[in-house]
Every structure is written in structure tokens, then in C-alpha cells.
């Protein structure tokens, strides 16, 4: 899933400067699961903004709503009547949600309340870890199902580098060396031989470096 975390309230408050009728919009999908932007967090943020405005002697209306998915136009469209009368929309969705709302409501200001962090999973209660960087050319078949692009600090394809010690990365003893994990996994699969092959230079044009990407399924296009 997409994992995000809420921006510091001190960063959000100035974004609301000059607006009187604010709508805080949550998303019930990924960011709800990662406790960043679901209905619960919407209530907290909206209440915080009301309190902050009053503490500063201002009168501001802050309303709340959460929708199924901010990343689909159909769901965002359901907000048509709700947004009426508001001059600022605060999205508690991921970066995709913020932009979908901006696209659907071209005449309204939209600001983000979250920082979209990573594609990953909850490791334990309150901790989420990265597993994919959407590089556009999956090589998990060659690396025992462990991604070196997201889990090696240098995204090396022929690791581990000389900074791997006791299974940890040179940049931080808290970080597992992705390539050490790959090594151990291939070892247990009896496929260490895979590591003797040189993995060729990656085609990064399939990643972000090819410009904004698009997926087209011709058979699904009408």
C-alpha cells in the first residue's frame, strides 16, 4: 500500500491562512490503514485547525468528510455538493489524492496535509517499511523476492557492497543490508549461483527517468 505520514500541524496551519471555509477530506483506503489520513485523522486535524484559529482570535469554519478513495475521479466526484461553499480543500490523501481533487475542482485551492512516503507494509504496530520503488522493471525473480532497488541504500544491482556488516547497512545500524537478505534467501533456496551472474545496467527509462509514466491497456480502452 501507499504509506504516508501527516505533516506537522505547524506546517499545515500557515497553509490555511486567509481562508474562512475549509473542508478536510480524508481517504478510506491506504492512508486509513497507515493511520495518516482516514476519518479519525480528519476529525483530529479539523478540530486542531478550529482550535488553532480560535487560539489566534480568528473565526474559521472547518468541516470534515472522508471518501472511499481519493485516487479515483468517480469517488472524488461525489464531493461536488459537499465542497460548495468552501474556499480551501485540505486533502488527507496521498499525493495522488491531492492531485485528483485538484483536477476535479479546478477553481478551488487544494493543499496536502500528508507527506507521501513510500510503497510498503506495516512491519509492526506503528511502523511501516518500504518494499517497492515502482521502478517499472521488476527483477524480484533474480533476487529471491527481495528488492535491491528499495532495500539497498545505494540501489545496487550487484551487491552487497563493502559496507555490509553483520547484516546491516553502512549508513545506519538500524537498516538491514538488502543484499545480505538477498544472499541469505538465495542461500536457503540453494540458488546462490544467481549471484555469480553480473546483473546488467538497469534501464532506468522505465522508471521515473523516462518522464511521467503511463500504463495503457489497449484491450481495455474504449
Amino acid at each position: 500500500m501507499i504509506v504516508a505520514e501527516q505533516k506537522d500541524i505547524a506546517e499545515i496551519i500557515p497553509m490555511t491562512e486567509g481562508y474562512q471555509n475549509i473542508l478536510v477530506i480524508g481517504c478510506d483506503t491506504c492512508v486509513t490503514v497507515c493511520l495518516a489520513g482516514g476519518a479519525k485523522e480528519v476529525a483530529i486535524l479539523a478540530c486542531s485547525l478550529r482550535l488553532a484559529a480560535r487560539a489566534r482570535g480568528k473565526k474559521v469554519q472547518v468541516d470534515e468528510i472522508s471518501i472511499e478513495r481519493q485516487c479515483e475521479k468517480e469517488f472524488v466526484d461525489s464531493l461536488q455538493s459537499t465542497v460548495r461553499g468552501h474556499d480551501l480543500l485540505i486533502s488527507m490523501g496521498c499525493g495522488i489524492g491531492v492531485q485528483t481533487i485538484a483536477e476535479q475542482f479546478p477553481n478551488l485551492a487544494v493543499v496536502p496535509a500528508l507527506n507521501t512516503k513510500l510503497l510498503g507494509l506495516p512491519e509492526r504496530q506503528g511502523v511501516w517499511v518500504e518494499r517497492c520503488q515502482a521502478c517499472g522493471q521488476c527483477i524480484l525473480d533474480k533476487t529471491g523476492g527481495i528488492c535491491p532497488i528499495s532495500r539497498c541504500s545505494k540501489s545496487l544491482l550487484n551487491g552487497p557492497c563493502g559496507g555490509s556488516q553483520n547484516g546491516k547497512c553502512e549508513i545506519n545500524k538500524e537498516i538491514d543490508c538488502g543484499w545480505h537478505l538477498i544472499y541469505e534467501r538465495l542461500k536457503s533456496l540453494g540458488r546462490l549461483g544467481c549471484l555469480e551472474e553480473i546483473m546488467p545496467a538497469k534501464d532506468w527509462s522505465r522508471s521515473r527517468n523516462g518522464g511521467p509514466r503511463k500504463v495503457i491497456r489497449e484491450d481495455m480502452c474504449l
Binding site: A10, K40, I44, S48, L51, R54, A55, G57, K59
Partner: protein, 137 residues
């Protein structure tokens, strides 16, 4: 200036709520400006409940949890402690002094301590004055 603060005390029903009950039964009155809110466990308390209390006009919020290692639900008091810490930081950034939010551990038997804590707490909120969100229009 004569000021009577509005205070909400969230009490776990397994400890502080009973202590408050005992205090009441013994006719040892605690300040009447303190509204007690009964919780099934301090861990049930959410950030939004504290914010709402301030939004509704509280000048102070007290949270009573069971002592460490005494939570009937094992970690409810630990969760409450962490949430209070988080909420205090949030309040400070919003513009509400974090001292208006107090967190205490208490057992069912400590009814005299309960009285001491709410009386002292009441005084400290009094000295802080009305909540900043109430002072301004």
C-alpha cells in the same frame, strides 16, 4: 480575577473512577468544576476526545490511568500515556499550553491521592487562567 476553570477528568473505571466514587461516598467533596468522564480503560481515550473537550470549552483535561503493569487490558495505560504525550505536543503547536493536559497513574484504593491530585490540578489550571481559545472571540 475570579476564575473557575472547567476541567474534564477522564477516569478509567477500574481505578480512578472508583477512587472518585469512594471520595464521593465519604463526603470528601472534590471541586465541583471537575466533570468526570468514565472510560472502560484509559486506552480507550482518543486524541480527538481531548481536543473536543478543549473545543467545548474545557480549561484543563486530566487523564487517570491504572498504574504501570496494572491495566486490566494489559497495555491500555501505556497507550494512553503515549497518546497524551503526542496530544500535548499537538496542543502546544495549536496554541494551547500543554500544561492544561495532565496525566496521572492511580489505583482504585488511592482515593485520598485522587482528591489531592484534582485539588492541586485545579489550582494549577486556575493559575494558567482561562483557555486561550475562550479568551478570544
Amino acid at each position: 480575577m475570579d476564575f473557575t476553570p472547567a476541567i474534564v477528568a477522564f477516569c478509567c473505571e477500574n481505578s480512578a473512577y472508583r477512587a472518585a466514587d469512594t471520595a464521593g461516598a465519604r463526603q470528601e467533596g472534590y471541586p465541583s468544576n471537575i466533570s468526570i468522564c468514565r472510560l472502560p480503560c484509559s486506552g480507550k481515550l482518543e486524541v480527538i476526545h481531548i481536543l473536543k473537550a478543549f473545543e467545548e470549552g474545557a480549561d484543563g483535561v486530566f487523564v487517570f490511568a491504572c498504574h504501570p503493569d496494572s491495566c486490566r487490558f494489559l497495555l491500555g495505560n501505556v497507550r494512553a500515556g503515549k497518546r497524551i504525550e503526542h496530544t500535548a505536543a499537538l496542543l502546544e503547536k495549536i496554541g494551547i499550553e500543554k500544561e492544561r493536559l495532565r496525566f496521572f497513574y492511580l489505583s482504585e484504593l488511592e482515593w485520598t491521592q485522587f482528591l489531592d491530585l484534582v485539588r492541586q490540578g485545579n489550582e494549577s489550571i486556575k493559575s494558567l487562567g482561562p483557555s486561550p481559545i475562550k479568551v478570544k472571540p
